[in-house]
């Protein structure tokens, strides 16, 4: 096993060290930081916006670039959280809890520097763990059959819904179903029958995943800024950060060191779980740190605590690297962003799953090894460039919004060269906007859409193998195990709230 790992690492290093790939990691981190920093735009949007750029590239180069964009965007989001209390996405909300008060107290530079160090450490620790766990899981997963894959996909889709939070499970499940419905549009690959094409030639190949990703995220985020009259970016005073203010003292490093270690480990484990992702990673790391803190230190949480800032930053970066484990090993995305990356992998002609480990080792190991480089680049880029990056936040929305719309529409048009796609994007954007206003999440829809085709194929194949019987769901031990995990994940929130309510009742009685 170790030989294989060392060979893989060498393959990864040789892939990453190609000058083109080094440039792409740098470019990805830079663009990710830039896009992720814009209020309202998160890593899903950043990755979706960059996919058209990768279409002319080698798959390994494209994935290296997208991975850089992903963790760059996570870091970029924390900058807008700290400076203007406008998290780019949910994963950086916890960062704003202590980052923004620190900035208000006159330490924006220190807050950004702590966030940069925590992100770097979280990302690096997580990549080391990814390097060990991913090949192990991938080698186990080679024994998986269609039945197991089908069960795994159901687990992934259920997990995304289960982590949706209070009152959100059913809505997320419904969005998954809606995504699966959209995936059935086009020609059925097995029978060649047209489904839901309404006689349109443009729909024969189905709906382009990039089109759906752009419409449901980039376009709706931009329209949402307009609808909600979000002018947070207009209110920033970019001159408030100087290089000197980025200094972090030795004592402060000692204070945040153990926090970063703990949060990184927790973040990685959470990131590996399908559906959990960086948001849960950051909140759980924050919660854990708050619980571990002494009462006097706990008082400072929410008022500008350095530990309260470092924990979610290390947690979300570690979780975002951890979410590559199910993507690279099983071909099952654990989050909305990795779902978009899975779509990109399919578009490159690579079959995601454990076979990628042996059939496309340059992609598998290239992505992992490039993360080391990406984390170093992020630190080098972000520390000196923070004062300049922050000025981007001052771009008025009346220039920013049309540009986001333009890049989103162009991103799709320059790939398909079909003006019908622009109109379809607008249609999906309006529908997605309406659903968002009704508080329905979009990431499960995208996940359902991307996994829809694979799920149907695997179910069909499993039924063929098992003589058209669904008995594989309970007869095959591995499939049964995955199904039990699905049931646990689905009912876990209910069990948790039941236990919590019982505890409250007991407390009231006593």
């Amino acid at each position: 096993m170790w030989d294989g790992m060392i060979n893989g690492m060498l393959t990864g290093i040789s892939t990453t060290m190609i000058p083109m790939n080094i440039c792409m990691v740098l470019f990805g981190c830079f663009m990710g930081s830039l896009i992720g920093m814009l209020p309202g735009l998160g890593p899903i949007t950043a990755v979706a916006l960059m996919i058209p750029v990768t279409y002319g590239l080698e798959p390994s180069t494209g994935m290296v670039l997208l991975a850089g964009v992903y963790y760059g965007a996570i870091f970029g989001g924390s900058t807008s959280s700290i400076l203007i209390n406008a998290p780019g996405e949910a994963a950086t909300v916890a960062t704003a809890l202590d980052g923004y008060p620190l900035a208000r107290q006159g330490y924006p530079g220190k807050a950004l520097a702590v966030a940069a160090y925590a992100s770097f450490s979280g990302g690096t620790i997580s990549v080391i763990m990814l390097m060990f766990f991913a090949p192990m899981l991938a080698s186990v997963a080679t024994s998986f059959q269609s039945a197991d894959y089908f069960a795994l996909m159901i687990l992934g889709l259920t997990a995304v819904s289960a982590f949706a939070g209070r009152g959100g499970v059913l809505k997320a499940l419904l969005m998954v179903v809606l995504g699966l419905m959209l995936a059935t549009v086009g020609t059925d690959q097995t029978s060649g029958v047209q489904r839901f094409t309404f006689g349109s030639l443009e729909l024969l190949d189905g709906i382009e995943f990039l089109l759906l990703a752009m419409a449901t995220f980039a376009l709706t985020e931009a329209l949402s800024i307009v609808l909600k009259r979000d002018e947070s970016s207009d209110s920033l005073k970019p001159k408030m950060i100087g290089f000197k203010s980025l200094k972090v003292t030795k004592e402060e490093f000692k204070q945040i060191g153990p926090t970063i270690g703990r949060s990184s480990l927790l973040g990685f484990v959470i990131g590996v779980l399908p559906g959990a992702g960086a948001t849960l990673g950051s909140f759980m790391a924050y919660g854990m740190e708050r619980n571990l803190a002494k009462p006097e230190e706990r008082e400072k949480f929410g008022k500008g605590s350095l530990r309260g800032l470092a924990a979610p930053e290390a947690g979300n970066n570690a979780a975002s690297s951890g979410s590559f484990v199910p993507l690279l090993c099983l071909g099952i995305p654990g989050s909305g962003t990795t779902a978009v990356m899975l779509g990109a992998l399919i578009a490159y002609g690579i079959e995601p799953g454990p076979r990628m480990f042996t059939e496309s080792p340059e992609v598998f190991w290239g992505v992992i090894m490039s993360m080391y480089l990406g984390n170093i680049f992020l630190l080098i880029l972000n520390l000196p460039l923070i004062p300049y990056f922050a000025r981007l936040l001052a771009i008025p929305r009346n220039l920013m919004v049309p540009m986001i719309l333009f890049f989103s529409l162009m991103g799709v048009y320059l790939v398909t060269f079909n003006d019908f796609d622009i109109l379809m994007m607008v249609l999906f954007c309006v529908a997605a906007m309406a659903l968002r206003l009704m508080n329905f999440p979009m990431a499960p829809l995208l996940l359902g859409f991307i996994l829809g085709g694979l799920m149907e194929d695997n179910l069909r194949r499993a039924l063929l193998i098992y003589d058209e019987s669904l008995s594989f769901m309970w007869e095959r031990p591995l499939t049964l195990g995955i199904n039990l995990a699905t049931l646990f994940v689905l009912f876990f929130p209910m069990i948790r709230s039941y236990i919590a309510s019982r505890r409250n009742n007991v407390k009231k009685v006593t």
């Binding site: 939070g165 699966l180 607008v426």
Partner: protein, 159 residues
């Protein structure tokens, strides 16, 4: 009505329409005797969609932000600007083939800036024209992607 219930109702109607359209998916004679056909997955999804939407409709609302209605949620929103931008995108999609990438993109950006309240002509031009030309240059000259000129140039005899 709470906003999530409105959404569930819409998706339930969509699921019913989807399920009824699934009935019309053509099947060959041989496929009709198969256990898993092109209709199986759509049927299952339609039923799932209806069941989950019904559950949301019937069960009590658990919206962490309170039982907000759609009207409350959308109060004070800038609908006019958003609708104008949507119309702009539709027009952009319709004229792209005729005016070509460069002219339609510049017009779209200028229109977008104007709708959002920008009135400084110089700033608008500087933010749109160089950006579109740069993108066109990167795509056509550096990446070798052929971007067809607009039909209008052929009609006018320019090309």
């Amino acid at each position: 009505m709470a906003r999530e219930k409105v959404g569930a109702l819409v998706i339930m109607l969509f699921s019913i329409a989807y399920g009824s359209m699934a009935l019309k998916i053509p099947l060959s004679f041989l496929a009709q005797n198969e256990f898993f056909t092109s209709r199986t997955m759509p049927y299952a999804l339609a039923v799932l969609g209806i069941v989950i939407a019904l559950m949301i409709l019937v069960m009590p609302t658990a919206d962490p932000e309170g039982k907000r209605s759609l009207k409350e949620e959308t109060r004070g929103m800038d609908w006019k600007t958003a609708i104008l931008l949507v119309i702009g995108m539709i027009i952009y999609g319709l004229v792209m083939k005729w005016l070509g990438f460069m002219i339609s993109s510049i017009l779209f950006l200028l229109g977008g800036f104007y709708v959002l309240g920008e009135r400084r002509i110089k700033r608008m031009l500087l933010a749109s024209i160089p950006l579109v030309i740069l993108l066109w240059f990167v795509m056509s000259s550096l990446l070798g992607v052929y971007i067809a000129p607009g039909e209008i140039f052929y009609i006018l005899g320019v090309i």
